[in-house]
């Protein structure tokens, strides 16, 4: 089939580099090539990497470097001069109670993640066995993770509205309430965390389902012959089989809980004690022009997330990240 692609090179020198572009695994020592050919050969991979690397450095590494630098200043994001203030921003974050309390809000989302993972694990397990309307249930559980966040925010604003969906449904069961669901900090945070379970459960569910289905079927058969019930199959076959995905999910949940933004921002704007770390950072930077302080906050968040990732990698060495 490759004959169809035969192409006469326009430059005579282009023929030479091909020895050198042999894959890393079975590369022989390159034959001595003419100088122009060698330059060209050295250049080829960089031509492919030019755009990707430029974007990577501009939009990932340069911001990280700048962010660390800003975090030691009291910059407002506009003025041409930067004043270095040392570690002042960091002390402010850890000592000012109102700045630090956003971390407690993450607690609600962390608790929600636990419920979410357990429920996703339950549904993935039962739907990996023979169940009627399996594909329907799979689709229903997964669909919310594809829905636009703003639309979800509005759907649930109406859900928690006075005389909205939730009140009406509770009314059907004879439970009449005039509770303002988004009215007090605890109730509002619980409601918002509930929305995040509704939204993200399907994603965890599909990951677990995929992992469970990759477990060889003979294992279940052997277990059944040995008289193992469903619980034992779950405990001794499924759980160990999906361990890598489970730990990945735990780490994604921790960083997701720390960086919750969309749902609370859309639904409450951070009012009634629902401000999360990212909402606070966005407000500090773009409403109050405290770029320096916001950067320090972002550095703290980044360090926490990297720490969590590192701990997870230490606890469960991940063999799938084998890029080299």
């Amino acid at each position: 089939m490759t004959h169809a692609h035969t192409h006469t090179p326009t430059h005579g020198t282009e023929k030479a580099p091909f020895e050198a572009t042999a894959p890393a695994s079975k590369r022989a020592a390159p034959a001595p090539a003419p100088r122009r050919a060698r330059t060209w050969r050295l250049l080829t991979p960089w031509l492919f990497l030019l755009a990707p690397l430029a974007l990577l450095i501009t939009f990932t590494y340069a911001p990280i470097a700048n962010m660390v630098a800003y975090s030691f200043t009291d910059w407002d994001g506009v003025s041409p001069e930067l004043h270095y203030t040392g570690a002042e921003n960091y002390t402010e974050i850890f000592t000012r109670e109102d700045l630090f309390q956003v971390f407690w809000v993450s607690g609600y989302y962390l608790a929600a993640s636990v419920i979410q993972i357990v429920a996703a694990l339950y549904f993935a397990t039962i739907l990996s066995f023979n169940i009627r309307f399996r594909n329907f249930f799979k689709g229903v559980l997964f669909f919310p993770s594809l829905v636009n966040g703003v639309a979800i925010g509005f759907v649930f604003l109406y859900f928690f509205q006075d005389r909205g969906t939730l009140d009406t449904v509770l009314g059907l069961f004879g439970y009449h309430t005039d509770h303002a669901w988004l009215g007090t900090p605890t109730s509002a945070n619980v409601s918002l965390a509930g929305v995040s379970i509704w939204r993200y459960l399907g994603m965890n569910f599909v990951l677990f389902l995929g992992a469970i289905q990759s477990i060889p079927g003979e294992l279940y058969e052997a277990a059944e012959l040995d008289g193992a019930g469903r619980w034992h199959q779950f405990r001794y076959i499924i759980l160990p089989g999906i361990k890598p995905v489970l730990t990945l999910t735990v780490i994604l949940s921790v960083s997701g809980s720390l960086s919750a933004f969309e749902i609370p921002y859309i639904m409450t704007g951070g009012a009634t004690g629902t401000e999360t770390f990212v909402i606070q950072t966005v407000k500090l930077a773009f409403q109050f022009n405290k770029t320096g302080l916001a950067s320090a906050a972002a550095v703290v968040l980044l360090l926490i997330i990297l720490l969590v990732t590192w701990v997870q990698r230490r606890l469960v060495p991940d063999d799938r990240v084998d890029l080299v």
Partner: protein, 276 residues
């Protein structure tokens, strides 16, 4: 009933309960979107049926006054360019990393690897300054550049696939006189089709649904994408749940259609995307 039958019933009950919890909030919004203003204002509650189930008046209002046409146009433009760019950049990076040995190859790999650990939301404050200084703030190019530049997951997906393409194909083409670019364009790229489908789906849904980046980088009214345009409903339609609901349904509907049409690929895509 035997114990097994009881267990089975409980399993089905839990599935039905989950289905209700997922569908009820969405279903009610669909009902509300078909009601008139009077019905939502003094109707008997969220679960009552609309008088006229074919009342599309709210959809017209949402679509026209909410600027949804511009929003869909902007979203489509950003989606096509950034997903196309992601496919090109991801596949080129994967090809260069897998098929060449060069100086600093390990460093390049490490750069991409470490970047995958940095959540985008944390660096936004500093990224904002860079986008601003490049003159891209409040243009469609800001989200496009950010979507293309920070997608490490697609590079992983492509890398897995490039590795599975036999090197003998490259070598045969090389003997026929093809250069590295021809090999990439005529052999590697066409063989990457399954990976491209995965990346297009995962990336496409992410871009369609993203709120954070367009919200921060394109504040202009006429640059609204569907997320930000829908978000703007909050002010003018604050108490008009029938209009807001219609807007939400308008935004959800394309997702539902794509999901129903491509279910299998979407599951696979997300499994691959999330586990890299």
């Amino acid at each position: 009933m035997t114990r097994r039958a009881v267990a089975r019933t409980l399993v089905y009950l839990s599935l039905i309960a989950a289905t209700l919890i997922v569908l009820l909030p969405l279903g009610v919004v669909l009902l509300t979107s078909l009601k008139t203003e009077n019905e939502t204002a003094n109707g008997g509650g969220a679960l009552t049926l609309p008088h006229d189930p074919l009342n599309f008046h709210n959809y017209v209002t949402a679509f026209q006054d909410g600027g949804m046409l511009t929003a869909f146009g902007n979203t489509a433009f950003i989606l096509v360019v950034s997903v196309g760019g992601t496919v090109l950049i991801g596949s080129m990076t994967a090809y260069a990393i897998d098929r060449f040995t060069f100086r600093f190859r390990k460093l390049v790999i490490a750069l991409f690897l470490v970047a995958a650990l940095v959540p985008g939301v944390t660096t936004q404050v500093a990224t904002f300054q860079i986008v601003h200084s490049l003159g891209m703030f409040d243009t469609r190019w800001a989200p496009i550049a950010l979507y293309m530049g920070t997608d490490i997951v697609s590079i992983y997906i492509f890398l897995q696939f490039v590795r599975s393409i036999p090197i003998s194909l490259d070598e045969a083409a090389r003997l026929d006189g093809a250069n590295a670019f021809t090999i990439y364009r005529k052999i590697i790229f066409p063989l990457l089709k399954p990976a491209i489908a995965t990346v297009v789906i995962v990336k496409g849904i992410a871009v369609y649904n993203d709120f954070y980046i367009p919200f921060l980088y394109m504040p202009s009214q006429d640059l609204g994408v569907i997320s930000t345009s829908l978000f703007r409903f909050k002010g003018p339609y604050a108490a008009h749940w029938e209009t807001i609901s219609a807007g939400a349904v308008l935004v959800i509907l394309p997702t539902l259609i794509v999901f129903l049409a491509l279910q299998k690929y979407i599951y696979n895509g997300f499994m691959r995307g999330a586990t890299r």
